[in-house]
């Protein structure tokens, strides 16, 4: 049945070929919209990114529920209290979930294949979204086998830091 679909893996598109509309040539009209944005990071995320530049992963603690959240927050999403106590988190943690990204799409932040994971850093009360790397990802079945044995990971820093989330290159298995 697979031959009924035109599979364009680069775009994850399924296009059915056994259904056709009336044989008239309908035109489409191409227009692109490109808009520039400049996002204010505010004091909390500015300090969080400054921390990354210094090789530190910073979170903040809620004075009411005591939770430590990372990336650092200005306020607790549950208690709505200011989160002003800064905590430098350990750079090791456990993997909560992961997925191997094996297809391309517009606006993607990295050339596939790569692994995205939720990493629960020690002493944090939430998980952080980042990459898992440091080993060969070309064969999905081998990656699955390898990931079965991985539970603990450690941050690997980029050679050049720009004060952004990519200052952490990825997390590698410990």
């Amino acid at each position: 049945m697979a031959e009924k679909y035109k599979v364009d893996k680069d775009l994850v598109r399924m296009e059915i070929v056994d259904f056709t509309f009336p044989e008239k040539e309908y035109r489409t009209s191409r227009h692109d919209t490109v808009l520039p944005y400049n996002w204010a990071l505010g004091p909390t995320w500015t300090r969080f990114f400054d921390g990354l530049k210094e090789g530190k992963i910073l979170g903040t603690r809620c004075k009411k529920c005591n939770k430590v959240l990372v990336p650092a927050r200005t306020f607790c999403p549950i208690c709505y209290e200011d989160m002003q106590e800064w905590i430098e988190l350990p750079q090791e943690g456990s993997i909560e979930t992961w997925c191997l990204v094996n297809y391309k799409y517009y606006g993607q932040v990295k050339e596939p294949p790569y692994i995205i994971a939720q990493i629960h850093l020690d002493k944090a009360d939430c998980s952080l979204t980042h990459f898992i790397g440091g080993f060969n990802l070309s064969d999905p079945d081998k990656v699955r086998g390898k990931m079965k044995t991985v539970s603990r990971v450690k941050a690997v820093w980029s050679k050049e830091k720009h004060g952004d989330i990519y200052d952490i290159a990825h997390f590698k298995p410990v």
Partner: protein
């Protein structure tokens, strides 16, 4: 919940790649059908609710103004509601609130998407801010992460989850074959599914919804109007909606509170205590077959961690205790903004016996559901044949 509300008509386009029609013409296809189905005219309508995905999807900001003529909204009040994938449920809820409040008697609800005019994944990248969570942009990534989290949390074996997800995909595609309006209409075997290329492990090609163009329109009316206009209305028995924190890592997505709480609220309002037993059919939002497994649990249709067992023994298959997505679901048709309203329309067709070839025999009580955002929103609407 205020006054009783009923669905008195539904209209859907033929879903698929609709390069044959401009976007307003596509919307009109659904609007014409809903008026034919309800047997009323735009003069009988008090207001219009519209929703879609973010405007970047098709590149026209305020597309509800672009379609003003097709929406039959000239000279009427218009509300726009938008909650990403759950938009269609939110549009229905806005219409239901409007009528239940007594501020209007007849409301036209419309949702649409023309995904092939833009780049769906690129649009989905703009749903997250670009500096902290952007790495999980792209729907398959977020939902694969969620599937693995769920499998890990309940120690569900890869092979068992794969087996169950394949059954979900086979059943949905069989539904699509029986639904002339579905986008993907093809017979698939379990082998077709397990041999398909991996998109984001464990999700394979046929575990993923298509990119569809389509629109759906539903007319909601007060009890008095419904009884006057419609021989067989579908009554709104209960609704529920919940949102969650922005950061995905802040809360569990395996025990998904927004789905659990939204459905509990809807069941309470509908007086349902055992949903698996009492419901006759469910239109569960299933853009990814693995995600449907998790939804079955969070919607309270089976015990937590046991969805694969229930799916494998056929509980949710055609002829099972609670057939799910007889229309083919989102796996076969996904004009995103409209997908949640299509679930409502399909539930209405089922409880009024108008679902044609994909009718679940004798269905009286139906659940419809949708999910949206970066795993942030869940909405449920329950419809029944009796007031």
């Amino acid at each position: 919940m205020g006054r009783a509300v009923a669905v008195i008509g539904t209209g859907q386009t033929k879903h698929g790649r609709r390069d044959d029609l401009s976007y307003p013409d596509l919307v009109r296809e659904a609007v014409k059908k809903v008026f034919e189905d309800a047997g009323i005219t735009p003069r009988d309508v008090d207001g219009v609710v519209y929703g879609s995905m973010p405007s970047m999807m098709e590149g026209v900001a305020y597309n509800h103004f672009y379609f003003a003529d097709a929406l039959r909204v000239v000279g009427k009040p218009l509300l726009r509601t938008e909650t990403c994938g759950s938009t269609g449920q939110s549009v229905a809820h806005t219409a239901i609130h409007w009528v239940a409040s007594g501020m209007a008697d007849v409301i036209l609800a419309i949702a649409s998407e023309k995904e092939n005019e833009g780049d769906a994944q690129a649009t989905m990248m703009t749903i997250l801010e670009p500096f902290l969570q952007v790495v999980i942009g792209g729907a398959p990534i977020a939902f694969s992460l969620q599937s693995r989290e769920w499998m890990g949390y309940y120690h569900i074996d890869d092979a068992k989850a794969r087996e169950a997800a394949s059954i979900v995909s086979v059943d949905s595609h069989d539904g699509g074959l029986a639904n002339p309006l579905a986008h993907i209409r093809v017979k698939l075997s379990k082998e077709d599914i397990t041999n398909a290329p991996i998109i984001t492990y464990p999700v394979r090609f046929y575990d993923v919804c298509p990119i569809s163009d389509g629109a759906c329109a539903v007319i909601f009316a007060s009890e008095e109007k419904a009884k006057k206009i419609c021989k067989k209305p579908a009554w709104v028995k209960g609704i529920g909606f919940r949102g969650e924190e922005y950061f995905i890592g802040d809360s569990s997505k395996a025990v998904w509170q927004s789905t659990i709480e939204a459905s509990k609220e809807a069941y309470k309002e509908a007086g349902i205590t055992n949903p698996l037993k009492e419901l006759d059919v469910a239109e569960v939002y299933n853009p990814f077959s693995y995600q449907e497994l998790m939804f079955l649990e969070c919607l309270g249709l089976c015990p937590p961690g046991e969805a694969p067992d229930y799916v494998i023994k056929g509980t949710f298959s055609p002829g099972g205790e609670l057939p799910c997505d007889p229309s083919g679901g989102v796996l076969c048709t996904n004009p995103i903004g409209a997908a949640g309203l299509i679930r409502v329309a399909e539930a209405a067709l089922q409880v009024t016996g108008k679902a044609g070839e994909h009718q679940v025999e004798g269905a009286k009580l139906a659940l419809s559901h949708a999910m949206g955002g970066a795993m942030q929103f869940n909405g449920v609407t329950i419809l029944g044949s009796e007031l």
